[in-house]
Subunit: 322 residues, 2 copies
């Protein structure tokens, strides 16, 4: 098994380091956040604050490099990768993908790169919030662009599966559009709700129960992390925000005029049922031969249908679709 | 201990019936929903579909009558109370209070009435969703109007405390304004999110993780129940919806213009911190003598400060405030 070098040791990077070690990989990490490096060292992991040395070691050992730095730091770290480990096998775990794909082409053009994003996290952050089991059962997007090296893609996908996740192959653009809906909009609506609730003063907070606690949970996330992902996905997020504004405005209009909210509330209920159905769907097995001429389209079509890759063997991606 | 008659045996009424029985009360229930009555009977409770007979028995025994019917049915049931048990000790557990207070004055004017609302529930509904422990640790608003009979108020409050809740004394109007923020708006935002997420198709639902699951959980609630509470609280909900629209629109404007969301996201984070602080606050003991001339103001002031009543003894409400 290929060695692994993790740059960034916060919640996600720290969990990658732990999970890779638990999966039997030789793994080391580096971060410019001294507190995280110290905490990882104290927990018995091979960690330092020397990103350059970590990347040079990765180049020597032909290790898989995993970038787990905040989105705002990706470009700078990619430049360092381009200097210190220019042809390495490379992936990242940041929450917006089109910008990273573009930056990787610009700053680490020789790297064997497949962009990634594990759909896992908590409202916590930093090394201490991480666990070796964070990715179990999670979807992990590994992007398939027209120029993606499928051998690199397969190694990154196998790594995600080794860490307990299943892999969803998508273009970066489709990923960004989907996460605007199911990750970035939830953060913005949680922020709206938390602010409107707190504006109600002690009475409102004293009465807050399940619906409010659930609806505001992710508003406790570190603001700079929420800003990085939402501001970093501006192009895909704006039309999704407009959809949400349109729906909320329609509710306001209906309540003020007829007083009836049936259409809006039924749409939400249908959406909740669609999620439940998707999660309970019966899945059928599929295989995509990675050396086929249309392999990229095959992988992306599987992702588009809500499918997943669960294993890789003999040049074939083995998965299931609803 | 006074007997208890529960009208309506869904999630809340069924939980009141179970919890009152567990607290040692003699309790019977009635509902026009035959399935709930049969299920309650099968579980060994004294339940029927004869609301009139249940109320006549309550009048005979001078029982506490708890109305746990859907908000849209309250007026009709109050008429029946006015006919069958006109001077009973009466409360309700519906989620909007000003309309119920007005209807009780009109249709059961002789009843010793204190309106109530336990802040507990799940996305489930019906008898089978109820539990004897639903109210443990929950806030239970018992309304204090200028014409509220404080002896009736104290009995209703003691009942809520016997069921494991703590009591928040508020006017119906203040209750309705607060729940618009922390219960009705969460349901509407969950409906918006569930609809926008589902519009993203199988890809979006396949990637949905914690933030989306949390943010859409209550969109699974039966739509007629959500309609009843939101449409029934129209007056208080409209300005709160406008606040939410204003905040979401400001996010949209910032993202489209400067691209920065710092102000909005920080406001949400501060709101989340305010909730955490309110829940961790150190509380000081207070007492309100119920025979004092300003007892109603004293109770309401305690509620306004985020305080709670936890016991009643010797004509005194014993509580705590942050």
């Amino acid at each position: 098994m290929r060695d692994v070098c993790v740059i960034g040791l916060g919640l996600i990077g720290g969990s990658v380091l732990r999970a890779a070690a638990a999966a039997g990989r030789t793994v080391w990490g580096a971060t410019t956040a001294a507190g995280d490096a110290e905490a990882a060292l104290a927990d018995g992991f091979d960690a330092s604050t020397d990103v350059v040395a970590a990347l040079r070691r990765a180049a020597d050992r032909d290790a898989l490099v995993v970038l787990a730095v905040p989105l705002t730091a990706v470009e700078e770290v990619l430049r360092t990768v381009g200097e210190c480990a220019p042809s390495c096998l490379l992936t990242d775990v940041t929450s917006v993908k089109t910008g990273v794909v573009t930056a990787a082409r610009a700053f680490a053009p020789q790297a064997r790169f497949a962009a990634g994003h594990p759909m896992a996290g908590t409202a916590e952050s930093g090394w201490r919030a991480g666990t070796a089991t964070l990715f179990r059962g999670a979807a992990w997007v590994v992007c398939v662009e027209d120029d993606t090296d499928l051998a690199a893609w397969a190694e990154v996908a196998r790594f995600a599966i080794d860490l307990g996740a299943h892999v969803v192959p998508l273009t970066a653009a489709r990923h960004d559009e989907a996460v605007a809906r199911i990750s970035h909009l939830p953060h913005l609506l949680a922020a709206v709700l938390a602010a409107v609730g707190a504006d109600g003063g002690p009475v409102a907070l004293a009465l807050a129960a399940g619906s409010y606690t659930d609806g505001t949970r992710v508003a406790a996330t570190r603001p700079d992390l929420v800003r990085a992902m939402t501001e970093g996905n501006r192009e895909a997020l704006l039309p999704v925000l407009d959809e949400a504004l349109g729906r909320l405005g329609a509710m306001r209009g209906s309540l003020a005029s007829t007083g009836g909210l049936a259409v809006s509330i039924n749409s939400g209920h249908e959406g909740a049922q669609a999620l439940a159905s998707a999660r309970q769907a019966t899945l059928s097995g599929v295989r995509v031969a990675l050396d086929a001429p249309d392999a990229r389209n095959g992988l992306r079509a599987l992702g588009e249908r809500g499918g997943r890759i669960t294993a890789l063997a003999d040049g074939t991606a083995i998965g299931e679709v609803p």
